[in-house]
């Protein structure tokens, strides 16, 4: 095994273990904290794939904003009485079966792909010469300008919706 493959093996193993820890902890606060470690690993994998901008976004938005939101909600709800002995619903074997079948289906389907589409213009050398931020910004503000504006609309709807839902009396 070469060095990149060893790196990938470490990341894959720890990410699988961390995902299992996230979905099996009894206390949601522990779950969120394992999720934080998982997000750091995912950001490391993004760096490995030459996506520096998205690695930074992963840390800032996911670990910095979304997980803090989860922790705030756990703090707001008084969950001491919720921690019962029974973590899983009684139909959990069905869920396990569906998850296994789905995973096997995805792996088999992907392994049947034989034809790959032609390579695009954004090679590693091009991105290194241009800069990661510059490349992604140029694409985002020219070809994907309309989806970018729609994304801002989605965020506006989320802000207004969260305020309306959480307010006792409007």
């Amino acid at each position: 095994m070469t060095l990149p493959q060893l790196f990938f093996a470490y990341f894959a193993l720890s990410m699988t273990v961390l995902s299992l820890l996230v979905v099996t902890r009894k206390n949601p606060a522990h779950s969120v904290l394992w999720m934080l470690l998982l997000f750091v690993h995912i950001a490391g994998l993004y760096l490995f794939l030459n996506a520096e901008f998205l690695a930074a976004i992963q840390i800032i938005v996911y670990a910095g904003a979304i997980l803090v939101l989860f922790l705030f909600v756990i703090m707001l709800l008084n969950l001491k009485s919720e921690e019962s002995v029974q973590k899983f619903q009684k139909q959990w074997p069905v869920g396990l079966g569906i998850a296994l079948i789905l995973g096997i289906c995805i792996v088999v389907t992907v392994s049947k792909i034989t034809v790959m589409p032609p390579l695009g213009d954004y090679s590693v050398e091009f991105i290194q010469a241009e800069g990661s931020m510059m490349t992604i910004g140029k694409v985002l503000y020219t070809r994907f300008l309309l989806p970018f504006e729609v994304a801002s609309l989605i965020l506006l709807v989320a802000i207004i919706g969260a305020v309306v839902l959480a307010k006792r009396k409007i």
């Binding site: 996230v22 979905v23 995912i42 996911y62 695009g120 694409v139």
Partner: protein, 100 residues
């Protein structure tokens, strides 16, 4: 050089773990966290494709997925708090107001 299929298998494994958490857990908060886990596993495969096909589209798509995930988390947690004010429980098998 790490082959592309390794990333896809890692992504599939994480997605399956997320599906299991979504279907099997009783705690509504952990169900939300499982949804985030599934979104992240899809992001990994998108970025891997983006790198190996030398295209920028995967990264742009991940950008939008993160936006939608943030909006979804905010709205979902607001609904959770609004529900908790009326019925102080977040176990999904106790949420049966619509049951006849």
């Amino acid at each position: 050089m790490v082959p592309l299929s390794w990333y896809i298998v890692l992504s599939a494994v994480m997605f399956s773990i997320g599906v299991f958490g979504f279907l099997a857990r009783r705690n509504l908060l952990i169900i939300f966290i499982s949804i985030e886990l599934m979104l992240n596993s899809v992001n990994i495969s998108l970025i891997a494709f983006s790198h190996y096909l030398q295209s920028m589209r995967g990264q742009i798509l991940v950008f939008f997925v993160i936006t939608v995930a943030a909006a979804e988390a905010a709205i979902g947690l607001a609904i959770l708090i609004a529900y908790y004010k009326n019925n102080p429980t977040i176990k999904v098998d106790k949420v049966n107001l619509l049951k006849g």
